[in-house]
């Protein structure tokens, strides 16, 4: 074989090399940052960086379909799901990074380092004298998407169907897990209104929406009543009124001035 061709078979073109050397450090830094970020939201954002960079790699790695799927499914759907759940269970809590299990962190670092060494050494050993069988994923003459579709619906059709069953099962499972049986009888709207009227006082008027008089648009910022105090029912019970307090104080100051 032509030595020039052979050389080009193992070496990526220049633009790809540039992309790699720019994005790879970014990814590693983002990944490490994700592990050490105290806020889960920051961690999610850093993970998004890694995932988008991976999508970029996929385009240069002759996998445009996967690049799109990476963006749409991973960065778009999965990561948003993460954020959604984060919002549900409280974003404001900063994680403590103090280790509670004795020796866990040191052991994790040691084993992690050992694992990295093992992987790298193993790769180096395995790739020593390795000649790639051509260069670039062979998409056939119809392009990458058609090629993948061809494989999916011929050789991997059973695996494909199995994963479809898996997805349906997962969806069903999520519904079952997230479902909550009502503990008491659900009150009708009329009954709720009557109850409120019976309580009397400020509760007779509709409740203000969240964030009224607030300088903050988070859903957990409570609304203020006309006298400047916090309206207790304006924030769903499962969102703890924690960070909202400071804003309320600020509003108080504003009103007093």
């Amino acid at each position: 074989m032509n030595p020039v061709l052979l050389a080009s078979a193992t070496t990526a073109p220049l633009h790809e090399a540039m992309l790699f050397w720019i994005l790879a450090p970014v990814m590693v830094v983002a990944a490490i940052g994700m592990v050490f970020a105290r806020s889960a939201v920051h961690a999610a954002m850093l993970l998004a960086v890694v995932m988008l960079s991976l999508a970029a790699f996929y385009t240069t790695e002759h996998a445009p379909f996967l690049a799109v799927v990476q963006v749409v499914v991973y960065t778009g759907a999965v990561l948003m799901l993460f954020l959604f759940v984060l919002m549900l269970i409280g974003v404001d809590s900063m994680d403590s990074l103090v280790e509670t299990l004795r020796g866990q962190r040191a052991a994790a670092m040691a084993v992690g380092a050992g694992f990295a060494v093992l992987l790298v050494a193993g790769l180096a050993g395995a790739l020593d004298g390795f000649a790639p069988n051509g260069f670039g994923a062979d998409a056939g003459k119809n392009g990458n998407v058609t090629g993948i579709a061809h494989l999916l619906f011929s050789r991997y059709v059973f695996a494909f169907e199995a994963t479809s069953a898996l997805l349906i099962t997962a969806g069903l499972g999520a519904m079952v897990l997230a479902h909550r049986e009502p503990t008491g009888e659900r009150k009708s709207q009329k009954q709720r209104m009557l109850d409120r009227a019976a309580r009397g006082g400020a509760a007779a008027a509709p409740l203000p929406g969240p964030g009224v008089y607030a300088d903050h648009d988070s859903v957990d910022t409570p609304a203020l009543l006309p006298d400047g105090s916090v309206a207790p029912g304006s924030v769903p019970a499962y969102l703890q009124v924690s960070a909202g307090r400071s804003h309320v104080d600020a509003v108080d100051h504003e009103l007093e001035r």
Binding site: L101, Q104, A107, V111, G112, F115, A121, G122
Partner: protein, 649 residues
Amino acid sequence: MTSTTTAAVQYAHATGVFKLTFLLILLPAIGAAVLLLGGKRTNAWGHLLGCAMPIGSFVIAVIEFFALIGRDGGENRQLDQHLFSWVPVAGFHVDANVLLDPLSICFVLLITGVGSLIHIYSIGYMEHDPDRRRFFGQLNLFVAAMLLLVLADNYLVLYVGWEGVGLASYLLIGFWHHKPSAAVAAKKAFLVNRVGDLGLSFAVMLMFTTFGTVAFDGVFNGASSGHARTGTMTAIGLLLLLGACGKSAQAPLQSWLLDAMEGPTPVSALIHAATMVTAGVYLVARSGAIYDVAPHARLLVEIVGGVTLVMGAIIGCAYDDIKKVLAASTMSQIGYMMLAVGFGPGAYAIGILHLLTHGFFKANMFLGAGSVMHGNNDEVNMRRYGGLRHVMPVTFMTFAFGYLAIIGMIPFSGFFSKDKIIEVALDHGGASGWIFGIVAIAGAGMTAFYMTRLMLMTFFGNKRWPRDVHPHESPKVMLVPMAILAAGSLVLGYLLILGGSLQHFLTPSVGPSLEVGAHTISPVVLSIITLAVVAGGVGAAWWIIGRKPVAAEQAPNVRPYAHATRRSLTGDAVNEAVFMRPGQYLTRALVYFDNRGVDGIVNGFAAGVGGTSARIRRVQTGFVRSYALSMLGGALAIGTTVVLLRVGS
């Protein structure tokens, strides 16, 4: 020794209508599956399906029978149908095949024919039982297993059927498992059968090591080629005999059959009279080629047959339980069959002849007994019957046909088959011929005695039934099968012996019926002698029982031999003394050793393990992250090992 199987055994391929042979087994199997798995929703029509399946098999069997007659004799009448490869291992190949030949079609007709009648009878008999569907399901299971047994073309498939009928028998004996006696009887039947099954399984293993195959043709050709040592063949023959003894309730494994009468009466009629208990006879007849080269095993078959013949007859004289008398009679009659097939070439067909006629008249009498019980609040004690011929005329008539057949009254079917056996025994020559001949004649006399006793106590004499019992005739659905079987009891023997038809028909399977030796006594004279002995038995029964009213209770103080007879010739006591007691002592010794010796070691070890574990279990902290750490550590360790091994090699 006359070798009748000089030509190599070879089976033709099944074609045309014979391709339906597998359906014979499949239909009742489907019935069993539907009824046993279908649950309550099949309650409404379960019994109809249960009847339809054996009837369907019977129709196929009749069609195939006539097709078989239409073919030339010899190999052409032995048709092998390949179903699937069952055990395709290198060096050990077993096909699931069905073999339809004259011998198996005889059994198939008996099983499906009598079986269908008994199924129909059961519709009436089990009408008020809440578990009627389960009953029919298990009955169908039995029919399927029994057909598999007789249609197998190798010993392994036969063994499957053999165990299948054992299972069905167990389930059906214990059908009313809420009764402790029924549950115990089922267990007993199962355990005693297990002893016999062990013999059969060892025989199959020995066949495989000797001939490298378990197929009938391979084994028989190997046996008749004379390569195997006589000792080996004798061992196989004896092991097969052990299996036959267990299934056919022959001495010394006879004890379960009397207790098996705890099952519903149709079960006693089908399984413990007409079909399953004759499987041992089938096994010996089928394995004729093996016994041909194992004369010692053959002699033992004769001895077993002769001994059981007499034992069954004596036991039959003592019991007051109508079903147990019939069960003892079954033992005795199967003894006749064993004796016949023990005489070997030429006599197999005679044994099968008696088997077929017995299947009819004994099923007939059992159904009659069931009818009597049905009309008497399930009372089985004959001392509570008496004078039933007036209130149950049809049952009495059909039962009388069976009675005349079993005592061998001319021209009923038993006359032809039993006379032939006595004739063959005497013609056998030598001391054994005389002994077995006289035993057989004496057995005929005793049969006449105890059956007459049964008839007198049940249908004649004074009315002894309790005041709250109002005997009545059974419904038509029960009477019609009894009538058909009664007709069979009358004509079957003559039909089968007419022009030697059965013998000729069976020739491809069991060899020709040869007249061995000269007639010791001319057949006509012998028949007269036998009839005279039978008449003597009947007369004696009348003299002892018929003349005076029967006591409502058993006489308490009797001589020791009568006492022993009432306890089925101490069969259970022997079992207890020989097997149970030493077994108990051994078990107790083992328990002692186990408690002190083994447990000491084991407990010490367990305490050590427990102590160590209590300390080690602290590792299980419940923290997922610790577990994940150990997982990653483990992966690291394994990966490192693999890499190092790669580098090292």
